[in-house]
Subunit: 185 residues, 2 copies
DNA sequence: GTACCTGCAAACTCTTTGCAATCTG
DNA sequence: CAGATTGCAAAGAGTTTGCAGGTAC
């Protein structure tokens, strides 16, 4: 499975269903997918799915592994990675890259399609929706003869939060020009 | 073989000025940036800049390092990474992530702003331009109070090329269901 | 029972770091 | 000259792989 970005055309669920509410549906979808692909329905796979759907926001594979471990599960890192691939493949999870070369994941099902706004100073990530992206996608599909099934749009910039961590550091640097060269996040 | 080291990874660059023409300007821009930030104008930095502006399309740090090495330069990997950071910082080079967790770079100056269309089967990358993205950016800036200075929009899907490598492999898999589960790149 | 899956740890890949030597300003 | 920058190699972080044992079907 090559690229695994966030699906744009997920189930057209409007608004967010609650975590618990959504989970039964989600589990069924995984079951179906595993059936369809003749993969086994192991407890590990469902444990990982459940852990993900209890979380909010973005996470990385290591954090998920540690969380599972903390909760008494003894899934291995290898299984976490393997299962994440499966979940991305069946569009229950989306893979995201925010410029720091750490792969992040987020649950997808039951959540509105959205894109990301990343503060390069403090790392804060906001989400936004814009219907024009779907139209750009349609145009690109037609012009280039692709069948597009996912997209990722990230904006990078600086937020205006008073407590933006990076901005404070930058201010300090100004008094201390040796450190002026910003580190990439 | 999915997304990353595809031989077809080539350009399809939209609206470019010639390489040599742009380079003098680009060198000046780097010089200015180094001055402004009190960084040293080392030969390595200019050698790397030049190598990048002689290339077309996307490349990764390792490929750039090997290329420089081949050409007789003896810059180290560390310097390549360090310099890429500087060039990204002064907007002569852009960092890109196409879903295979290998960081790609491309030159930016003198090239029209564009976004990417990635074939998840064969790894081909096409480029397109759409003015609506700038408008979405404006709106997001206003609504969220960000100062945005970069974006990345990637569409992922399947191309319609007759020789799309991945599609052939997928067809083979269908006859041989054991291999149905696609491998991550 | 079979072969898919898992856990474990080692291997791998990409990137960063530490340090002595070198070169810019 | 001072100290920023380099090359080198080793370390680090994140992810993948190989293999023996476990387990879904």
């Amino acid at each position: 499975m090559p690229v695994s970005p966030s699906p744009t055309d997920g189930p057209a669920h409007t608004g967010h269903s609650s975590n618990t509410e959504a989970y039964a549906e989600v589990e069924d979808l995984l079951r179906e997918y595993l059936d369809r692909n003749k993969l086994r329905k192991t407890p590990e796979r469902f444990a990982i799915l459940e852990a993900i759907y209890q979380k909010d926001g973005h996470f990385d594979a290591e954090a998920l592994y540690l969380e599972l471990k903390n909760d008494g599960s003894k899934v291995s890192r290898a299984t976490v990675y393997n299962t994440l691939d499966i979940l991305v493949d069946c569009r229950l999870v989306a893979k995201q890259y925010f410029g720091d070369s750490i792969t992040k994941y987020e649950k997808v099902y039951g959540y509105r399609q959205h894109d990301h706004l990343v503060c390069t100073e403090c790392g804060k990530i906001l989400e936004f929706c814009d219907p024009r992206i779907a139209r750009i996608q349609d145009m690109v599909e037609q012009v280039y003869g692709f069948r597009i099934d996912a997209h990722a749009l990230n904006f990078y910039g600086e937020c205006t939060d008073a407590d933006c961590a990076g901005r404070k550091a930058a201010a300090k640097d100004q008094a201390n020009p040796q450190n002026a060269q910003k580190q990439p996040s």
